[in-house]
């Protein structure tokens, strides 16, 4: 058992670099041997400690953004697709082009769904309402115009009759 623990497979596993077969074997060993379980927990603590060294607090409103995204995804029941952030050669470190904070994450997706910011909802409502108003006006003026033409036609007929007399 010590040989298994010392092989480094646990370290590879906690770093997500184990193959599926290695992971399955490790899960079996973990369930069977408490010392493997203990060693794995120890490693996980180590990983957290390493990360804790460089921890950075996220910006205050980050959770709200994530929650909005999650709510949208839950509603769509559409799993998120892999993301790829673009690089830019003229960046200071020649790394990533940093988009503005409010910009959406570009998602490469084969899905037919399109995700929009919530504020578009009000724009769509406004467009819908304005559309209805314009339609109302169009119908009103069409009827008015038709009535006027009828009246004009009647007047012309009357005038012709008067002329004949």
């Amino acid at each position: 058992m010590k040989e298994y623990i010392d092989s480094g497979i646990l370290e590879v596993f906690v770093m997500g670099a184990a193959t599926d077969e290695e992971a399955r074997e490790l899960m079996y060993m973990k369930a069977k041997y408490p010392e493997v379980d203990e060693a794995l927990k120890q490693l996980e603590t180590d990983m957290e400690k390493i990360a804790g060294e460089m921890a950075i607090s996220p910006p205050p409103h980050m959770w709200e953004k994530i929650e909005d995204e999650i709510d949208g995804l839950i509603r769509l029941e559409n799993p998120a697709q892999p993301v790829k952030f673009r690089t830019s050669g003229d960046d200071q470190n020649k790394h990533k082009k940093a988009p503005p904070e409010d910009q959406f994450i570009p998602i490469e997706s084969e899905s037919n769904h399109m995700r929009l910011h919530k504020s578009w909802r009000w724009i769509f409502v406004a467009v819908f309402v304005l559309g209805k108003i314009f339609l109302g006006f169009a119908i009103y003026f069409y009827l008015e115009n038709r009535q006027t033409r009828q009246q004009l036609q009647e007047l012309k007929t009357e005038m012709r009759e008067l002329k004949k007399r």
């Binding site: 010392d6 092989s7 480094g8 497979i9 370290e11 590879v12 596993f13 906690v14 770093m15 997500g16 670099a17 490790l26 973990k30 794995l40 927990k41 120890q42 490693l43 996980e44 180590d46 990983m47 957290e48 400690k49 390493i50 990360a51 804790g52 060294e53 460089m54 921890a55 950075i56 607090s57 996220p58 910006p59 980050m62 959770w63 953004k65 994530i66 929650e67 995204e69 999650i70 709510d71 995804l73 839950i74 799993p79 998120a80 892999p82 993301v83 790829k84 952030f85 673009r86 690089t87 050669g89 960046d91 470190n93 020649k94 790394h95 990533k96 940093a98 988009p99 904070e101 994450i105």
Partner: protein, 164 residues
């Protein structure tokens, strides 16, 4: 401390609550890790957001994967960061990134250059043990052993901190 995810609440609203729980516990550590990799705060924040957006779909995996919640999140982040490396389109970008000072980590500085290379290749560059073995002309077993040594150094470093 129990670092496993508790998912006993009803699924609907509990998804968001479970993600919030994870976010409160690990977002700072995860952002720190991602920042070490990408060296750009706005991009690191976007990756963090992308990871947590995926959590609702992975909640089951959190319960059954056998790893701690933090390690699972870190693995998810690594999967996302693969696209970061794909985005390093040319050799100049790649070289510039490889020369970044992400060996600032106190524990990493305690390692030998070979140990640092193995640790950083896996931890920051998300490479597999197999690919590192090929790159460095070593066996996978040697890479694993080296990785184990790295963790021993980290653990000893922690113990020394406690003593002092």
């Amino acid at each position: 401390m129990n670092t496993r995810l508790q998912t006993s609440a009803p699924m609907g609203q509990s998804k968001s609550a479970a993600v919030l729980n994870l976010y409160n516990s690990y977002s700072a550590k995860l952002l720190g890790y991602i920042y070490e990799v990408v060296q750009n705060k706005p991009i690191a924040e976007q990756y963090l957001s992308a990871v947590f957006n995926d959590v609702p779909n992975e909640l089951e995996e959190f319960s059954k994967s056998g790893t701690s919640a933090f390690c699972r999140l870190q693995i998810m982040a690594r999967e996302k960061l693969v696209h970061f490396f794909e985005a390093l389109e040319n050799d100049t970008d790649k070289r510039a990134w490889e020369n970044l000072p992400w060996v600032n980590n106190r524990y990493v500085t305690l390692m030998t250059s070979f140990q640092q290379q193995v640790f950083c290749d896996i931890h920051y560059q998300c490479k597999s043990a197999g690919s590192i073995a090929i790159e460095l002309n070593k066996t996978e077993e040697e890479i694993r052993k080296t990785l184990k040594e790295c963790f021993t150094i980290i653990r000893n470093g922690r113990i020394n901190e406690r003593v002092h």
